[in-house]
Symmetry: C2
Subunit: 142 residues, 2 copies
């Protein structure tokens, strides 16, 4: 769909290409759903410290490589940024996130357009954040 060379991305962001960063970024980019920090800790916890993972995610977010989503349980999840969104430095952009109640995965639905809604008077909307709760493709098919 979209070319994505891990090492290039890190280089462009001015981040050193360390083993953990490359692995984490590979993993996040391979994952179709937004991954949580606990997820990443389970996977990379043996080769990297919890704090390191935390800091790498923060760095990725700051550089616009990934964006952060707060899921329905209040924990952070991370997903790759799409170019179109991440040109702006504001990352509360017009994504729609789909929370699957079966598998718990959070998916970015980039191809679903955000509807226009009308706000009460004197309310000024800056950005939208919409999440849909339901059953995702994988769990429907199973």
């Amino acid at each position: 769909m979209r070319k994505f060379k891990t090492e290039e991305v890190l280089e462009d962001a001015g981040l050193k290409k360390t083993v953990i960063r490359i692995k984490m970024l590979d993993f996040i980019s391979a994952s179709k759903t937004a991954v949580s920090q606990p997820d990443l800790e389970k996977i990379f916890g043996k080769i990297a410290d919890r704090v390191t993972i935390y800091r790498i995610l923060s760095a990725f977010e700051e550089k616009g490589i990934v964006h952060k989503i707060i899921d329905l349980h209040g924990t952070s999840r991370f997903a790759l940024c799409n170019d179109k969104h991440c040109k702006e430095h504001d990352h509360h952009d017009e994504h729609i996130h789909f929370n699957c109640t079966e598998c718990g995965n959070v998916t970015c639905l980039d191809n679903v357009h955000v509807p226009v809604i009308k706000l009460p008077k004197n309310y000024k909307a800056a950005t939208f954040n919409m999440s849909v709760l339901g059953v995702c493709n994988d769990c429907t098919v199973k």
Copy 2:
């Protein structure tokens, strides 16, 4: 707008009318915005334990008196349920929440209708959860 008698509500829910519960419910019902547990702790922390506040909120939620919202920082906020929504025991209902970036308040916009969105194939939406980030009425006027 809507009649709301604190003590009746507690009675209907089968909860004993204790001082703290009445005060908390009064406070939540008087508040136009969704209040966080930390907020409530600051206010009621001297007359009630942190755990008590937590349990009262859980009880309120379970009985359908209030509903819980996870705000953009991942902390829980609570707001009164409207009758129309809370007849269903599923509380992830079609509310739209407005997060004000100035004052940090979260407001339920009940009078704003939830738009219909089209999902990719095999995605089954159960409920929606939309939040809008911007500047609220109060902060616009100021």
